[in-house]
């Protein structure tokens, strides 16, 4: 049981006086991030939907990165990974990240290939 808590977030930029205070601080941060996501999702600025990076819309990159940021703070502060031993933290975090990255890479490439087969395969799919 990790009774002692590390009270810094943002790499020490923000230091809280108590664990309770840190929890509320993280809630405010997560709420802001969600609000930004929803705001962007509703307005869909043309500058972000029109430009692409590595074949994906800039807006979608922003969504995915903000999601990972949220996931980080939920795991680190709500699930107390920040206070755990680094060996436990690494075993829990890197195992799924490695496997999921591998799976997503394979499946998305394969799906893109199937999409091209459907598109250029001289077979009508919409009849």
């Amino acid at each position: 049981m990790a009774h002692e808590h590390k009270l810094e977030i943002f790499r020490g930029l923000l230091k809280f006086k108590s664990n309770t205070q840190k929890i509320w601080g993280v809630l405010i941060f997560l709420t802001i991030v969600t609000a930004v996501e929803v705001g962007l999702g509703i307005t869909k600025p043309a500058a972000l939907t029109g430009s692409y990076f590595l074949g994906m819309k800039l807006l979608n990159w922003i969504f995915i990165i903000l999601t990972l940021v949220k996931a980080y703070y939920i795991a680190w502060d709500f699930m107390h990974l920040r206070d755990e031993k680094s060996s436990l933290r690494r075993a829990v975090v890197w195992t799924p990240i490695f496997l999921v990255a591998y799976l997503v890479f394979i499946l998305l490439f394969e799906a893109d290939y199937i999409y091209n087969v459907y598109k250029d395969g001289f077979v009508a799919w919409d009849f």
């Binding site: 509320w24 509703i42 699930m79």
Partner: protein
């Protein structure tokens, strides 16, 4: 002979009671379970991505599907899902506060924070049930073609979506749903849509203000709108009327979209539901003083891990189902 001394230390290492990861057995097992559960959810989301990339040009746009807020009429994309997300994060916060109060052995604080967490979870599950009901009953209705593609209707002057009821004709003498009690007793059919295919096509021909929208997404990221001649031509390919969604047909577009919606949000909703049940059990244990007698509130911490995990998964479901 210093080998005896080495054996002695080895007995210490392997003799049990060691905590190399500085976490108790129960907590470690919870983490193992969460990792495997995370992989299950990742498998679902990755296969969602697979199907979506396969049909990237015709996938439904989430903004146009989830536009409802309870008790309000009109078009409010995302607001309700954002509210649900916020509720779940908030209940995560009360959970972590309960864990914190448990560390300081404050029984009453744990009780109240657990109670708030349960309420938050119940609101979330209820919202999800409402979201499902809205999704299943549908709002505009559409036609399905022989190739399984969905044709939706748009008003030409305003550009708004047109519901079937806005233009379909009422033609008397249509057939009624076949029930078990009539004719061959062991067969029955599902409920008929509120308008027949003929009523919709006749209504469409009579109303020049209605256009057809196909599933294909154009360069602007919007669904392709056909002009009147193309629409009439497309209309002849329609084979049935679709209202709402089930696992076989849905009015929103690609059939896989509804399948994945039911599957992924359903699996997540089931997790939230079981989380609420477990929380209730622990809540009563706290009230009965089980953990006070045990001397620590680690059980609350373990349940908390599960609850935060459910929140963590929702963050991803929210992004990949509703935002991207």
């Amino acid at each position: 002979m210093d080998t005896t001394a080495t054996t002695g230390t080895e007995e210490n290492v392997w003799g049990g009671g060691n905590r190399p990861l500085n976490a108790s057995y129960g907590k470690l097992m919870m983490w193992f379970f969460l990792v495997s559960d995370a992989l299950t959810f990742s498998g679902f989301l990755a296969s969602y991505g697979f199907s979506r990339f396969k049909f990237i040009e015709t996938w439904p746009i989430a903004d146009e599907v989830f536009t409802h807020v309870p008790f309000f009429h009109g078009n409010y994309p995302m607001y309700y899902v954002a509210f649900m997300t916020f509720i779940l994060i908030l209940s995560s916060v009360t959970m972590v506060l309960a864990v914190d109060a448990g560390h300081r052995m404050k029984k009453n604080a744990v009780i109240w924070y657990m109670f708030a967490t349960i309420i938050g979870g119940a609101i979330f599950v209820g919202s999800q049930a409402w979201e499902w009901a809205t999704f299943i009953s549908g709002d505009y209705g559409a036609l399905e073609t022989k190739g399984g593609r969905i044709l939706q209707f748009v008003k030409a002057d305003s550009g708004d979506r047109a519901a079937l009821a806005d233009f379909a004709k009422t033609i008397p003498g249509e057939r009624t749903a076949h029930e078990r009690k009539n004719g061959i007793w062991y067969t029955e059919e599902g409920s008929l849509p509120s308008y027949s295919l003929r009523e919709v096509t006749e209504g469409f021909k009579a109303n020049p203000n209605i256009l057809i929208r196909t599933e294909t997404i154009n360069e602007e990221g919007e669904k392709t709108l056909l002009n009147r001649e193309e629409s009439l031509k497309k209309l002849s390919a329609a084979t049935q009327v679709v209202e709402g969604a089930n696992l076989i047909h849905n009015e929103y577009g690609s059939r896989l979209f509804a399948d994945f919606f039911f599957f992924i949000t359903g699996f997540h909703g089931f997790h939230v539901f079981s989380g609420v049940v477990i929380n209730v059990i622990i809540f009563f244990n706290v009230i009965l003083g089980t953990y006070e007698r045990r001397g620590h509130y680690e059980m609350v911490e373990k349940v908390g891990l599960y609850w935060h995990f459910v929140d963590l998964v929702w963050v991803f479901v929210f992004t990949f189902f509703y935002l991207v």
